[in-house]
Symmetry: C2
């Protein structure tokens, strides 16, 4: 079962030919979640061979162009490809109003429905849920209303050992009870501990996306112990003042959050194009939190399907 994130765009507002504006795709057991949709996202999806049809949910963190200018092109292309399935877009309410006339003019014959979900920029909120995954939005601090997104696999019940079913002749009712964590009591009164009857299910994995935002420690409980944390690092710490002024984060600040939230791995992106080399980002981040990666367009990061501790 896959749990991976692929970077489609890793730059800040001014894209280059190798670093496109913000967009990522999260694959949770072949459910594809598109996070932000900067210009060129549809071409990057083609480049990295991600199947368009698998995307049913798009999450837009905020309405700056480098996070959403690719939407209209992608929506149009999905129409030309004959999509029939609803497309859900989670974004600031203004997006629906802004896109409306463009959809009418450029995508009049769209063969599928777009369903807009308006984000709450004040409270942490569950915005999507299915059998396998829960998605929450949470407020960040930027120049315009901005949300981060937290993707968590659901905790699964332990599996019953096949040999135990035979050995103790377990009924469906017994199995339900054991899955709920109860020991099994044989007819003679002999108690078999639940641990002997079950195999732990794979650990629920998690991913948090935080872009764009000022250094914001109040997100620590939300991102606590996620396997992967993507955090913007527009500047190095030398430009801390500019970072604060423009409501962005430095690499060192992002690493501090990763360390204090005890995350598995930190992915840094959204670099300002004033930097010709990114060496300083990795140096100052790794100094605080060792397991840091500077992402590039096309990178994919997997979280292994390990058993629970």
């Amino acid at each position: 079962m896959t749990f991976s994130v692929t970077i489609l765009g890793s730059n800040s507002a001014l894209p280059t030919s190798t670093r496109y504006p913000s967009a990522q795709i999260l694959n949770v057991s072949e459910r594809f979640f598109l996070i932000d949709c900067g210009e060129g996202t549809q071409m990057q999806l083609r480049k990295y061979r991600i199947k368009f049809a698998r995307i049913n949910h798009i999450f837009i963190s905020h309405l700056h162009g480098d996070h959403c200018f690719g939407l209209i092109g992608l929506i149009s292309t999905l129409g030309l490809l004959g999509r029939k399935v609803d497309l859900h877009i989670y974004a600031h309410k203004d997006l629906e109003e802004l896109l409306g006339p463009h959809l009418e003019y450029f995508c009049a014959d769209l063969p599928y429905e777009i369903i807009f979900h308006h984000l709450d920029f004040k409270n942490q909120k569950v915005i999507y849920e299915d059998k396998r995954v829960v998605v929450e939005s949470f407020p960040l601090i930027h120049r315009v209303p901005t949300c981060g997104f937290l993707f968590r696999e659901k905790e699964k019940e332990p599996n019953i050992r096949k040999d135990a079913i035979i050995r103790y002749n377990l009924s469906i009712r017994d199995i339900v009870s054991i899955k709920q964590g109860n020991d099994f009591v044989e007819e003679g009164g002999n108690k078999i501990p639940v641990e002997q009857l079950t195999v732990a299910s794979p650990r629920a994995r998690s991913y948090a996306y935080c872009s764009d935002t000022r250094y914001c420690r109040r997100i620590l409980p939300i991102i606590n112990e996620v396997d992967l944390l993507y955090h913007e690092a527009t500047f190095t710490h030398e430009l801390k003042k500019l970072a604060t002024q423009t409501s962005h984060t430095t690499a060192r600040q992002a690493a501090t959050l990763a360390r204090d939230a005890n995350v598995g791995k930190l992915l840094l992106g959204h670099f300002s194009n004033r930097y010709k080399k990114l060496d300083d980002f990795i140096v100052e981040s790794s100094d605080v939190f060792n397991n840091t990666v500077l992402v590039k367009d096309g990178d994919t990061f997997h979280v292994a399907n390990q058993e629970s501790k």
Copy 2:
């Protein structure tokens, strides 16, 4: 003096990772004219190292998304780069209305002015003119109002030979008269023919852009003898019926126009993505008009600065 066109996007509505939607840049003596602006144009400009600041005029043939979805991103980036100079956009009048709310929302602090020029889709018209170049729009036949564009260098006066100025002691008045094509008469009455006194100036070069359009023979006098003709060829001739239905052109039809207009070179693009290989396009086009090229993103085609015939 340069006269060249660089292909930024060569595909039709569904872009791939190597063929972006329609966009081209025409360089006439370092004046850069952007023709159409599909999604990703700004990244292609970076990739092919074309200086953004040199673009002052953008021509949008028609309002289908694959010809204009890159505009808002480019406009925004030009603002972030600190542009101060007016940007002129020549397009259908609806574009101004459609872009308005997006410019207000996403580009509120734009440090330069955008000046919209509304195209006439009924008549051939001069839409831009300076010392060196004239740009005309002319109607094509597509599912929505569509214009082609004709770029022509202005005819230059012949240059006076330096040795003639000394030999005949020519005055400014004499020079003006000779440049107008008059012979020079010496004081004694001896007549020196204008041909002996002048060097022909370089030939005025020309480029015509025709996309998207149904096969349309009435453009023949407009594109007559242009050095370079870019013409859409969405389909091969096998799908002639579909081409007509969707108001597109086949490769053979485009080649027929090139032959009958006696153009220098034919550039074909805007290929439907139903074709995995483009061999048939070149075969059927070359059969009618030999000097045909199937363009790729990144190709540049130069017209040499030859003297007039």
